[in-house]
Symmetry: C2
Subunit: 240 residues, 2 copies
């Protein structure tokens, strides 16, 4: 990217699910633990995909103003009940389901995440800008020992990405202009939203975030400012 | 304190000015730097005290609903102009004053803060619950290399301590009950506010936070759950 534009960047804001943490592998791992504990069997890969499939549609009414704000833990639980029903998974009690819903608080980071963040942090403010609610993201940050400076994003805006308000609230809380902030995400749709809100963009390729058969987000689909293979590569490309 | 009540605590929320960082010493240090740079002389200790003296009155109209929310950087700047005028300090331009106002982003931590927090963090979620705005607190956390899990407090509540909303918004963002959260502060007034909101309380004695002649907050003035000499002592007393 233009070195002058790069020199203006003060903060990096990070998408979390898929970008910082491996949601799919971690949900499968917790599903398999539930199978060992309860004997209830299902294809946890297909289950994780179906559950995640409900994610985008569930936020839509909130972004469109048709439903008041609720946090992602609440949406995840509604989506979990729908997924259990649709896939015909039987035998899980409410306590099991509540525990499984918290799988999203126990997602493992990608191997490069903590080290890359530590490098990026020396040069930039590094904060989360996730659709995950604060408590969920705090748990993820603690679980992965991720050295973020702050946990911001959708809940402080009471609006979900890619609505501009989700990005601009975090930018405003950092007392920066959108052009001073770079959104880091493994999802082209997230970067399109960030770019529309005036932020700079860094695309990090996470080719297995949606599993071994991933078909989307395998390459940049926009003129993003930086494209990197992981957070260590991103640090190198940003001179951190 | 009652070991059973202690066992319920999941998160510690920290006051910052005076409790985590030495605001007075750091403001004096930056004032002295301004004197070296501009030749403008004043008693920076008296200046720091007068500036800080405007702090509580400036938040009052906001807590009482007579003024819409503005962040602490804005109040600090208004209070700085009033202090400069009242003490008759002449010769500082707007650029100098803007720089001096950011002294509150460069406050040094007490020597025990980072190490004590690292210990406490192993057992508890550790977050800021400061009247400082997010950008200010992020700068302080980065400046002092303070391992907080998140930066919350007044700005996310759009209300200043000791208003109950300031405490309860942070508690709610952490998805906890007030009884699961312990407020850590070197100010009895802050702990009174936290206690009224239902939080547990830890008093940390900072006998020079207001300078060598400190007359207030030299001892606990309430039945606080824990009293500690510093953050390392607090970690020991909380079994962390």
């Amino acid at each position: 990217m233009n070195p002058r534009a790069l020199g203006q960047i003060r903060a990096l804001t990070f998408d979390v699910f898929g970008t910082v943490v491996d949601w799919r592998g971690s949900v499968i791992r917790d599903g398999e633990e539930l199978t060992r504990r309860t004997g209830v069997k299902t294809d946890w890969g297909a289950f994780a995909d179906a559950w995640r499939g409900e994610y985008a549609p569930s936020m839509k009414p909130i972004r469109e103003g048709a439903r008041p704000w609720v946090g992602l833990d609440t949406l995840h639980y509604e989506n979990l009940l729908a997924t259990v029903k649709r896939l015909g998974v039987e035998g899980l009690g409410e306590q099991d389901l509540r525990w499984l819903n918290l799988a999203w608080h126990r997602l493992d980071p990608w191997p490069d995440a903590a080290g890359g963040l530590a490098r990026l942090k020396r040069k930039f403010v590094v904060v989360t800008l996730s659709n995950g609610n604060i408590a969920m993201t705090v748990d993820l940050v603690r679980h992965g020992n991720l050295p973020f400076d702050a946990v911001l994003g959708a809940e402080v805006a009471r609006q979900y990405k890619p609505h501009p308000q989700a990005y601009l609230t975090t930018v405003s809380l950092l007392q920066l202009e959108p052009s001073q902030v770079m959104m880091v995400a493994a999802h082209n749709s997230d970067l399109r939203g960030a770019s529309k809100a005036g932020l700079r963009t860094a695309y990090v390729i996470r080719p297995t975030q949606s599993g071994p058969g991933q078909k989307t987000d395998l390459a940049p689909e926009g003129d993003w400012d930086v494209v990197a293979n992981d957070f260590v590569d991103l640090a190198a490309k940003l001179g951190a």
